[in-house]
Amino acid sequence: MEEISRRRFLGVGAAGTGVVGASVLGFDTARAAEVSQVLRIEGASVARSVCPYCAVGCSLLAYTKQTDGDHVELLQIEGDPDSPVNEGTLCPKGASSLELAMSRRRVPSPLYREPGADEWQQVSWDFALDRLAANIKASRDRTFVAQDADGNVVNRCEGIAFAGGAAFSSEEGYFATKVMRGMGLVYLEQQARV
């Protein structure tokens, strides 16, 4: 992360808002926006991100400030004017990506639903991971085919599928492939087809 300096910010801000000029409100909105934004991100650090939505790959600048203790507050997300892809612009989804990042609708903890139950139970990570690991092993052992009917060595697990990852970082996706193939999965899928 790079500490934002007032001078650097103003340079960026001028490029971003300079076209507005004096408006119907009778005062210079660009200047007003500049002043209020300087206050908003003063002393902030800027980090580089990429929009999480479609695959245009718009670069984002994310402004954060360290508050109490270790907590880092996300103040603002905007388009990166240096990007040869988006040159600072964003669509409505990208421009509101701060709301996705800060959503209050997150799943708070691992949840577990017993067969036939009509409610969730909040469970610990250890409970969920141990139980899932046991399920994976049991399903793998039950559905593993070492040799097919023609005598070919195939070493595949037919009873487990993994699908996911359009919002994975690439390296996470690679790791998912490695682990799933390592366990012998053949049912492997992500968003490309659907």
């Binding site: 959503s103 390296e171 690679y174 682990v179 087809r193």
Partner: protein
Amino acid sequence: MTNHWRDIQHADLILVNGANPAEAHPVGFRWMMRAQRERGAKMIHTDPRFTRTSAVADMHVRIRVGTDVAYFGGLINYVLSNNLYHQEYVEWATNAGFVVSPDYAFDNGMFNGFDEETGAYDTTAWAYETDADGIAKVDIDHPRSVLNLMRQHYSRYTPEMVERITGIPRDQFLEVAKLVGQMGTPDKVMTIVYAVGLTHHTTGVQLIRSGAVLQLLLGNMGRPGGGMNAERGHANIQGNTDHAISWEILPGYLRIPAPGQRDLVDYVDESAPKRSRPNAYNYFGDGYRRFMVSLLKTWYGDTATKDNEYAFNYIPKPAENSSWISIYDSALKGNMEGVMLSGMTATSIGPDSNQVLQALSNLKWLCVMDPFATTSSEFWRAPGMNPSDVQTEVFVLPATHWIEKDGSFVNSGRWSQWKDQVIQPEGEAMHDHWILAELFSRVRALYEKQGGKFPDPIRNLTMDYADPVKPSLDELAQEINGRDLTTGKRLESFGDLLDDGTTTAGDWIYTGHYPESGNLTKRRDGVQDPEKNDPTGMGFYSNWAWSWPVNRRVLYNRASADPQGRPWDPERPGIVWDADQGLWVGDVPDYPDDEPPGPDATLPFIMTGEGTGRIFSNGVADGPFPEHYEPVESPVDNPLHPDVSATPAAYRYDEQAGRPNRFGTSDEFPYVATSYRLTEHEHYVTQNVEKLTQLQPEAFVEVPADLAVEKGIETGDHVRVSSKRGKLEVRAVVTKRLGALEIDGKKVYQIGIPIHWGFVGINTGQHWLANALTPFVGDASSRTPEFKAFLVNIEKM
């Protein structure tokens, strides 16, 4: 994309098919608008709907959904019959001159090689005539040359036939054809931009191939401003396809081994492209074994030795197609026990959501890794479900957002851009890869303790990370790049990979993105200094991030210059032969960088066995030339061959499994429907974002104004839209953006269905799933579902 977003500004003509970039990829669309504004480029939007893309385009061509092969086929016919193709390019850089085996036949909608019992073609029946060494005969004037067979094949695609199939009036079609026909000269270049409006069909692969064939004929592949450019819909579909979260491949598009392949020799023999011209480079084919051995060394380390074929038998070999629909098909058959979903919700995605809900109910367990509740995590209490009947054990594991972790996203243009971890994970949320590392470590411990089926691959999978349950994405990026095991240094290029077990690469196409000098995807030398960062002025910005392969920005770019190494258009060079330096300069060449041009030089398409682009190809399951087939549910019989109306090779899951038919007919369901996305939403996740749900709060369908009059429907009325498989009860938006088409003498209406709503989200009253309507059928080659063309009825409620 063969090219990249910024490159579209170089086009003279932009064909947009099966896409609505102004609304679905708004920031990418600016490059199309820039081509219009600064080059005077023309944009033709060929789409069932008049959208904001059409509003900006120079021409909106209303087409019936799923008929783009007829449109592109008509353009191919126009270009061929008026000799408007780029002759020098076609003869040098495509397989137009290859002579096809006398076995090849096409008659009344059927190619040769079809097996009635399996419902599939034997694709090896579509072959070149070769000598004993597999070298193809080349004679462009031969009656069975690809060019002549293609002329014959597409001669049926007259403007009249195009009109009968697509509904595009012939005069308007000819207006398009005239513009397209001007794009076969060296000083002109056209791009084709598409999205899931082409892919989401039972004929999706051929829809795209028909565009690619046209581009090869016009000499537009490999050139700046040209190419076939797929707009991907999610931030990192591209990266995760490259890294092979996909049943049929291993990282870097190596094929998954098949049963019967006993060792690497069998595997490479059956998987790698073979050289069919003496001067074809066949780089992929030649490198296949090196790439595979390096991958196996990465995954299985010291266990992978020459004596055990580098642990080749640890890699699972699928019995059959194991893609998205196949997962739920297997669950419906009672064979699938457990499913893990991360950032994808099966219930909403469908197709045939009601059948998917049944499939999920058949599982023993389901694990959803996601930041939010989804229609899959909550499927057991979906409207109409009785939780006590659902015996599936369900887990939700809270995962982190993109901004809570670092790592790269790869955009549609193959640019891999690193992002920082900006904030800490919220609450108890854990990174997906740490969840998987934890699960794997626990599964491994269970096998160590209890034994079980073939534990060797689990026991020996490399986990050489500082903390094996918390691998960092930086460590993984280095692993993907690969090393020389002798020196321990990270490699600069996949050219350095060996097949003797002394190199690693987790994904060979990414070798070089993280050399010893550092992670190149972090580079940010962009438009802040165009003179320094874009010296050619072509917008390559080669020090902004990194693109695969080897930071090349335009694929197949050898074909951007003529056989003598001069750019077809000096104003828009891709690469240029610099005789003084003895090097190709410009973009990173898709060619040996110091091989001079000349009559016997290596052919331009170095990755294929032919050395050329493929107009005729046996790499697809439903025909070597794209042919128009009707959607499986269609209001008309195929005017080309009514007896073989839909493709015989589409995979009808229910029929194959012996389940009852779930396809409707036009007597009961007289209207064509198509599904699509809105600017304000991204699939289903944005139902959790307040601003966006305020902008687009409620599910609706778009109804053509004329049909609305017939049905007495007004904007705001509640309507029921039903297919053979399910229904929606939502409000109607009556619009002239959707108009009636005249198809083979029949009036056909198309209804538009945005997909974004479900029973989970901020607006909980919105419980209808658009994909309850869509059919459970897959493309012959890719098994991509038919989300875009199906039959419905509509009634006012």
